[in-house]
Amino acid sequence: MKWARAALVFVAVLGVVELGLHVHHAKKSPNAEDWSRLAEAVMQERRDGDVVVVAPLWADPLARQALGDGVFPLRDVARPDMSRYATAFEIGVLGQTSSELGGFRELSRRNAGPFTLRRLENPNYIPIVFDFVDNLEAGRVTVRVTDPAANCTFTANARPIAGGLGGHPTFPKKRFECPGGFFFNVSQTVIADRDFRPRRCVWAHPPNKGEVVVRFSDVPLGNVIRGHGGMYWMIEREGRGASVFVSVRVDGMEVGKYEHRDGDGWSSFEMPLGAHAGKKNAVVEFFVSSKNNQHRHFCFEADSR
């Protein structure tokens, strides 16, 4: 009967412990009031240029609701990676830290109620000279297709189009519209990459034949052109599509070629600029193509640093 007595005590204790744990988990901070009080502490601690990261990731919408677009600009929330930031500001709850900041060095730490606020610096930071996604605008940029040759017209006030449930990313009102229908536009959008992370990028669906060419003029250059390419997750994961190629030319000379295969996910490329390094106003062209353009919902981002 010893084990039976032990079982009786175990169940009785478990009942109490489980109830206590349930109450503890349900009431555990942060709650809505904690989030609404967070703004003041963030204003005190955060510096201009800090990218704000929330850990764990599921708390991110609460932080965005509490702190708004000023603290969470779209370009940071849908960042390509962390390498472009000199410093980061982490809002941690439940003692969690972000794996994205693994290589960063802690500068300061402060507890604010249930939050742990940390400033960190990137030891490998190299300043960005030019961001191609930020600068996708009429005036500096022209877009054309090569076969048959045609210019893609810029419109600043098109009707935004979103794909809805299971559909394509939103095509914003500012976009270059190429022949072939609304999928064949070039615009700033945000895709959910293979791992469902948001990535702000240049939508560039390759045409049926030839290439779509995105041409940037007056581009100051660093030593490399660096970037990422990816596709909407539902298409990427099927692994059935043809490769997408991006050829990058500076002042008419190819400096590198990137191939995106389905399944690669949000994959990076880096192209040394050699003799073009340090130029103050180069012409940079991205030639995007695919041997079979069916469902090639390709999106890329690039910078020079």
């Binding site: 009785a12 965005r64 929330v77």
Partner: protein, 555 residues
């Protein structure tokens, strides 16, 4: 194991339990939004309802093939029985009698009533096998499983199949115990109703054949004559084979014509079901191989820990009795192999999820037919511990404790201890049933950190209607995301959502956008960011501080 003979008082307790469950569910249904699949079944029920109206007015016209096919083609990938109940409930209780304040409740009521019946049946089964305390605890534990509690509200098939599955198993067990014709016929009819409820019923013949075979072999091994048992089992299986398909045919007009091709299409739909997405430990699974431990981990993460501990206790108690019986020790007569039957009932319900090809998109609901058997073991475990408690108190040196052992108070205290956490967890889970997790994984926050599915089916729209009613301008538009159209429209018909608020299928057509969080749905949120030029939600709602649904507003 000697079984308890139940009397009118047990019928009264069972009826009271059923009534209590139905009252609780009806009283809590008002703030629970409509699940995606409910929307499809509303639509089907309306089509069937029109056919029933025609049947009552003009039976000849209703029985023409064209009328049958037009009505019953809708949602013909699922059998018709439970949807017929939704339709009849809507026609009778709402359109004629105006019983409910919200139209949606009339569709949900048959599911709610069947949930009440399931709890009552668990009481009877448990009480008959292991005593009233076991039955009462088992019935209570079933109601206090947060996921069961959620599904029990819905106009879906998941709780109805739990009920029909359990009813079939109970009738089969009674057939083996009592023989004769009444229970075998009841088994055949209940099996037919189960077949006409959901395809989980396909497992019932396997369960019964395996169980009967083991009992016959066991009888042979112990030197008893297996013929009476074999005769009863074959009679029951025969009734299932004959009456099951007949009942299914009778209650599903869709198969009255082109029977075999339509049955084949129905079977193929489920045997080759599309794989949807489901997050498990941070990874979205969408094609085989599926994680083999999914069903067990999700059960552990969503069924109260104390209930699981008592299930384990019950299994030990039953296992020990079985070993003693096999050794010929004691006086444990178990001629209908009830513990083995419960084990088979739970085992076969989980069995399909051992295979890596079985889709996991439905979360815990797919193996919910196991839960009545789990709680019957829990009831057995509880009953045993109640006995231990009484014995311990009788041995006490304190007279007061020895006196207390004779009363009901110690057992009531143990009962309260064992259900306190399940009560709190189930209460706390509403109306976020699919987002609730037990303390074993750290509750909702822990589950979110572990990457367990946050929600699915788009039903949490019901949790933000107050915000929408307050903030959306007159004739304003809302992107409904994962909410199905009939589910959205039902919120409006109910009067829960302002009638002038219009739903849209894309964010760019709307002034507000809903986002129900699932890992693979995050692109929907990003669509709103670009369309509205903001990443700041204007409203976030969820469970225990974990966001489940949030709303964007065009800037």
């Amino acid at each position: 194991m000697s079984c308890v003979k139940l009397d009118w008082k047990d019928d009264l307790v069972a009826a009271a339990l059923a009534a209590f469950v139905m009252a609780v569910l009806v009283s809590t249904v008002g703030n629970l939004g409509y699940a995606r699949d409910e929307g499809f079944y509303f639509y089907a029920a309306d089509a069937y309802g029109q056919w029933f109206e025609l049947l009552f007015k003009n039976p000849g016209a209703a029985l023409e093939r064209k009328a049958i096919d037009n009505a019953w083609r809708v949602n013909s990938e699922h059998p018709g029985f439970v949807k017929s109940l939704f339709a009849l409930s809507h026609l009778l209780l709402q359109k004629k009698l105006h019983v409910f304040s919200m139209e949606g409740t009339s569709y949900r009521f048959p599911g709610i009533a069947l949930a009440g019946f399931a709890v009552a049946l668990v009481y009877r089964f448990g009480a008959e096998v292991r005593g009233r305390m076991a039955g009462l605890f088992a019935a209570t534990a079933l109601l206090l499983m947060p996921r069961f509690f959620y599904h029990a509200h819905l106009a879906c098939f998941d709780v109805p199949i739990v009920t029909m599955f359990l009813l079939s198993v109970y009738a089969y067990w009674k057939s083996l115990r009592h023989g004769g014709w009444a229970w075998p016929v009841a088994t055949g009819i209940s099996f037919g109703l189960a077949l006409d409820t959901k395809h989980n019923a396909w497992f019932l013949p396997i369960l019964c054949i395996v169980h009967a075979s083991v009992l016959v072999l066991r009888a042979k091994a112990s030197g008893r004559d297996p013929k009476p048992l074999l005769h009863r089992a074959l009679t029951t299986l025969g009734c299932m084979a004959v009456l099951g398909p007949l009942v299914m045919y009778a209650f599903w007009p869709w198969i009255w014509h082109d029977t075999l091709p339509r049955l084949r299409a129905y079977a193929n739909f489920h045997l080759h079901h599309e794989y949807y997405n489901m997050e498990f430990f941070g990874q979205t699974y969408w094609r085989p191989p599926m994680p083999r431990l999914y069903s067990l981990v999700m059960t552990a993460a969503t069924v109260p820990m104390v209930t699981l501990a008592l299930v384990a206790m019950g299994l030990i108690v039953c296992g020990r009795k079985e070993v003693k019986r096999l050794r010929g020790e004691g006086t444990h007569h178990d001629d209908a192999g009830v513990f083995l039957l419960w084990l088979c009932g739970a085992g076969i319900s989980y069995g399909a999820w051992v295979f890596p090809t079985t889709p996991i998109f439905g979360g815990t609901k797919h193996w919910m037919t196991a839960y009545p058997f789990l709680v019957l073991f829990a009831g057995t475990g509880f009953s045993y511990l109640a006995t231990v408690l009484r014995l311990e108190l009788r041995r006490s040196k304190l007279e007061r404790l020895r006196q207390a052992a004779r009363g009901i108070l110690p057992v009531c205290a143990l009962f309260a201890l064992a259900i306190a956490a399940p009560v709190a967890e189930t209460r706390g889970s509403h109306p976020w049933g699919l987002s609730s997790y037990t303390p074993l994984v750290g509750g909702a926050k822990g589950a979110a950190s572990l990457g367990l599915n946050r929600t699915f089916w788009g039903y949490t729209t019901g949790a933000v209607v107050d915000y929408l009613n307050r903030e959306v301008p007159k004739n304003g538009t809302v992107y409904v995301h994962d909410t199905s159209w009939p589910a959205w429209e039902m919120l409006s018909k109910d009067g829960r959502l302002r009638k002038d608020i219009r739903g849209t299928g894309t964010v760019h057509e709307a002034m507000f956008a809903l986002y129900h969080h699932e890992q693979h749905m995050q692109g929907q949120e990003y669509q709103a960011w670009v369309a509205y030029g903001t990443v700041q939600p204007v409203h976030v709602a969820g469970i225990d501080g974990v966001p489940v649904i949030w709303v964007y507003r065009r800037k």
